[in-house]
Amino acid sequence: MRDTLRWAYALNQWNVRLDVFVRHEDQQRALKTVSACGFDTIELASGTGRWDNISRPEVILANHGSHESFLNFLRRAKVRGVSSMFWDPQAPAEEEEGYAFRSTANPADSDAIVEWSKPFVDFLAGVGGEQLVVRPVGSAWMSPPLDADGIKVIGDVWNRIGELASAAGIGLALHYDCLGAVHTEAELTGLLQATDPATVGLALDTAEFTIGGIDPVGFYREHADRVTHVHLKDTRYADTGQEYRMPGAESTMLKGGAGRRIERWFYELGTEGGLVDVKGFVAALRERSFSGWVVVESDHGGNPAELAMLNSWYLQHELGVSKS
């Protein structure tokens, strides 16, 4: 995409199960699809195990030999590089003490989580990525509500990792999601206040904000100085019934297992009935000359190729982004 904003596309929806996105030719098809849609930069998402050869830093390097070889693999499909990588330290991973379950909300876990972040920081620096995008805290239903002290504990961990990332020349962006224990606008603002603006930014995901009850346009205008990364996608629903507090909300809420039984929350840009003011949000980014990556996602939405193509059409024809 040729634009004053920098556009990238997230590969997460192609990699929906550990063994379905492993063969290099399948990955090349996804990369070519993204490229044909006008995106020459991608966001990766963390995974675990030997199958995650496009997700887990150590496994990527084991498969490709070096950062440069991995970049050459992307370049075969005319994808220029990696904007960012998503990592959730709360998601157990084989490489992280053998699927240890740790949380940024637990001070006793802080040292281990800081250690776990190093492969991601090193990998991103090696491939020229700019942002480590992280889930700052686990799901709300798994712990009591956070108070200010609890938020400070979380902020402290990310400040330490932010320093590490900064020393390696990359940014750290906390990604708010609609299930997280940092849920309300006040809690999110509190987390930002508990982190160092010099080293810790915010990844604003338009759909996650909207589902969680936070207006992405208003929040961006108020906190533009802290927003260093964007995930752009739409939703047709807001969590008006506090479904995020249901036990197992990853399934009960996001997969329609209970509550209003909504099976699909995330949609492509331009979807009928979309709640996100995409044009207003992008206009706000332009007004503030946003310099970070705007990553378009099709996660949990459907056929990833179809959604990438629909998102590309929206960028070209509704947002006035030139493809070449």
Partner: protein, 315 residues
Amino acid sequence: MSDDRAIKWSYMDHWRSNGPSGPVDQWHSHKTMSAFLKQIKATGFDAIDTFDFRIWQMYGDYGGPAKYQEMVRDHGLERIVNTFHAADYDVRNYAPHLPETHENILEDFRVTMGRWSEIELDNIIVMPATLYYDMEPITEDKLKYSAECWNKVGEITAGFGVKLTCHHEFFCGIQSEPDIETFYSYTDPRYVSLFVDTAQHCIAGLDPVALYDRHAHRVSGFHFKDTRNVATGDDHRHRPDSEIMAPTTGKWFYEMGTPQGLVDFEAMMTAVRDNGYRGWISVEHDKANKEGGDYSESTAVSRWYAKNVLEEIYR
């Protein structure tokens, strides 16, 4: 051509997607049509091709070809370039090698061209023979009768400003190299053109580049698609349709750039350039969804190939 590119890319109408009510094609609803057109445009296609039998949906759902074409244009595409006349061949009343059926065929085209006359088409594409099993043994007389039929049809379509062009499926009665050569020797270049389908000719055992080079002066378009298999034995003689029923191969067609593809697209594009062709190339990957394939992805991958490989040779 409205700009200075020598080649523009059109997408031939084949599509399946999964909707809330199950697998559908793009003609299922205005919503699915819009999603289809957006995807075609987003990846860089300039136009679409379609089938004659879609005209009923154009009239019923959109108000006719011109109105439907307005929707195509609203999505950023230029127009409908070609239509494929998928005739239901029948030796009782519709078979080009049987002169007694010719008047019925001619009347079909008089009516058909009238239906399309409200928009500008470049080509009406036909399979120039019945199914192989309905025409064999292939004789020179049958080829000559077929040529005479299409000469007359081409004169009708020319009257509407549209070229009649022949697309030789591997399972039709005119698919071997000698039969194709004999057929064209009897046709009038003013009224009958050749439409080169790269995969179909490969499957039939022909070199599509050599065929194109021999007939370049009368080639009016292309289907660029790939295959991994050549027909063997009696693959070309299965009812109702060898594309579906041939025993050796469950899936014949793949998008351009597929691994193990038999079509030499770089040689093909070089020949297109060297023969000075200017105009539309249609991309096709019919039945792409078979055996786990996906139309959206195949469309993006083939347009990627056109941009990053073929346009480096000629654009």
